[in-house]
Amino acid sequence: MANSAYFDHAATTPMFPEAVRTMTEQLTVTGNASSLHGAGRRARRTVEEARETLGEALGARPSEVVFTSGGTEADNLAVKGLYWSRRAADPARTRILASPVEHHAVLDAVRWLADHEGAAVEWLPVDTYGRVHPDALREAVERDPSDVALVTVMWANNEIGTVLPVRELAAVAAEFGIPTHADAVQAVGQLPVSFADSGLAALTLTSHKIGGPYGIGALLLGREHTPEPLLHGGGQERDVRSGTLDVPAVAAFATAARLATERRPEFARDVGALRDALVTSVRAAVPEAVLNGDPDPDGRLPANAHFSFPGCEGDSLLLLLDARGIDCSTGSACTAGVAQPSHVLLAAGADPELARGTLRFSLGHTSTKAEVEALAAAIGPAVARARSAGLS
């Protein structure tokens, strides 16, 4: 049975009805976008129109849109692919400059390159909000600009919602001719995102976080960059990402991207106001709760609230709220289902005990005042109870 209050839109958010319509229409149509006959041409036209729509929504040229299976694949393609191609062009380029607050799709790809491909990883310092400062990047690059393969920094953090100064960071790297990748999975639809203005070489986004279907995402990729592919095959998507395109998903993704960016100003205003109400009511119920991330509304995602509850175990809180019909998350989801202290908070210098008792409340386009009120009523007793269970 579904719970009555859903605060995990950063994990996945309901599809827009318009995207569902686009997708169901396309599901009834046959055609491989790589085929040369009429059915193929029709499918190809749907894909190319989607590519144009998506590019327009995100300030990218259509030719810069590379469809992938989602955010994880786009992150891996950017990080590994750019590392391999940059190193192939100059064997000295083995240094990767990365923020330590990245999503695991970046973090683990970077670590894999260090373990298996001779990459030297340098984790950039972050402030207490998890933000990388351009001066810190400049300092790291200037030590030896010639050996840097790439820079990877997320646009906005998926756990604590901190917005990173991606344009400034990309500008620093660009001075030295170094490509920058940004994971913008959480930023799209919540912040103004223009690939053209960003100065980025590559940008990751995914459909199911912005009202589109699962299983489809994109890497926006500057024309001058040719990452080594992860998937070899039919040569689709500029030869960078082979595989038959999922036409219905591509079309619905484009619909969702168009709507999410069109509606972004209202979303930021309305959902931001709900988020502010949530923060106020949680603080009223639990005065000792610590809001993590940047308290300045301009410095964080409008739909994100992330708290530490001192003396509580995050999984205790999750269970208690779940039993009261409230869905939320302790951080980012993990395959084994075991809650770990947040690597983001640890990187930002938080007390390890505070990093264990965290909850992320992420809102979305279906969030309501009634949901926030349900949480306001439940959070106080849940925290009191979880505190009595203590830290195991």
């Binding site: 999984d315 999750l318 269970l319 289902g337 075991v338 809650a339 195991s392």
Partner: protein
């Protein structure tokens, strides 16, 4: 002594909030299903007991793999209860795995399942469950909790003696029992019937093999696991006269009563099989001898835990000395201000290993338990002069 006193079966208890510990095996899945069917408000939880699950057993056996967590999750889906994975790896390492090493290092043979029940399932887990508002922890153990008319609790053997697991629960006190639920204990059900019930309930774990070995030893090689941590130090294997009959690679690799794996090249003079009689970690020696030298007439045990008030003075009981072991008639008496337990056997018993638990029963009822510290031989070791 009498068997079961007048009792109210747990099944008539009101609707409770129950936390079901689900290992991923068939027993705990059926137990959780029965608790839910009885009308309780059940939540499933799988305990992640290894910090690095992949380092543990990867097959279908054991209780700590990612696959086991998956099986438990799917069982909870089918039963229709919420499910979580709780990370108790740090507590498990401290309280069970480290204790396991320390016991072997001291020449004893620990029972980590007992330890896990005492320290993890009915301590760390139970305490957390109670704090979070649950009334009871439910497991797939075969044992019976009886509520007396006066509200007190008793632990009894399972209805099916062949599957009884009251021995590994003998460490639980009355408070722990008051919050324990063993839905499999009170029915005469063969394992095949439990499997059939799992099948009928649509639980995919119905065909999963039983786990027998120690869950945190991935390949079942206890000696190798111990050697990796405790190292190997060559020492002597002696016979009862003190004569050297072979060498070993670490005294911690042995258990009292062990016959296999002694790797003594030449046979005993009388040609009869030899058993481990004694382990001396300080001298790093292992003493071997004939089966009758394993006979023990009494033992002394420490850390007694009583289910209810400790008995005053000596009493006659039946005792169980190892998991899946038989019963033996004993006289037992708390001594040393109740810190120790003296147990004398009516007839000598064979192969009693320090470190194992002695569990005392009055009929089917568990009276208490203690950890065996030392034994008294029925037949003293002959001295070298003899």
């Amino acid at each position: 002594m009498t068997a079961t006193p007048p009792s109210i079966p747990e099944a008539t208890a009101p609707r409770l909030r129950v936390l079901a510990a689900m290992s991923g095996g068939v027993d705990s899945a059926v137990a959780a299903a029965r608790a839910a069917e009885a009308g309780h408000d059940v939540t499933g939880v799988h305990l992640a007991l290894s910090a690095n699950p992949k380092s543990f057993r990867t097959g279908a056996r054991g209780c700590c793999t990612v696959e086991d967590a998956h099986d438990a999750r799917r069982a909870a889906d089918v039963i229709g209860i919420p499910f979580y994975v709780w990370d108790l790896a740090e507590r498990f390492r401290e309280d069970v795995v480290e204790d396991f090493f320390a016991e072997y290092e001291a020449g004893r043979t620990p029972n980590p399942c007992l330890r896990c029940n005492e320290k993890i399932k009915f301590a760390a887990l139970l305490d957390k469950a109670l704090a979070l508002g649950f009334d009871a922890v439910c497991t797939g153990h075969y044992a019976t909790v009886v509520r007396r008319a006066d509200g007190g609790r008793e632990l009894h053997r399972a209805s099916d003696m062949a599957k009884d697991q009251s021995y590994v629960l003998g460490v639980l006190d009355e408070r722990q029992l008051a919050h324990a639920m063993f839905p499999l204990g009170d029915t005469l059900t063969t394992k095949d019937e439990i499997r059939a019930e799992a099948e009928r309930r649509g639980l995919a774990v119905a065909e999963k093999p039983d786990s027998h070995d120690i869950c945190f030893i991935a390949d079942g090689d206890t000696r190798g696991f111990l050697a990796k941590r405790l190292g190997s130090a060559e020492g002597d294997i002696l016979d009862e006269s003190g004569a050297r009959v072979g060498t070993h690679e670490g005294a911690h690799g042995f258990t009292i009563g062990q016959r296999k794996g002694l790797r003594i090249g030449h046979p005993a003079p009388d040609g009869r099989p030899r058993y481990v009689l004694d382990i001396s970690p300080v001298e790093n020696t292992v003493t071997v001898g004939p089966a009758e030298s394993l006979d023990v007439s009494a033992l002394s045990a420490v850390r007694p835990r009583w289910c209810g008030a400790p008995p005053r003075g000596a009493g006659t009981y039946t005792a169980q000395l190892r998991a899946h072991g038989g019963e033996t008639e004993v006289t037992a008496e708390p001594v040393g201000d109740g810190r120790e337990l003296r147990v004398r056997f009516a007839e000598p018993v064979r192969g009693v290993a320090p470190g194992q638990a002695v569990v005392l029963y009055d009929g089917t009822r568990v009276v208490g338990s203690a950890t065996i510290a030392s034994t008294e031989r029925a037949r003293p070791l002959p001295t070298a002069a003899e």
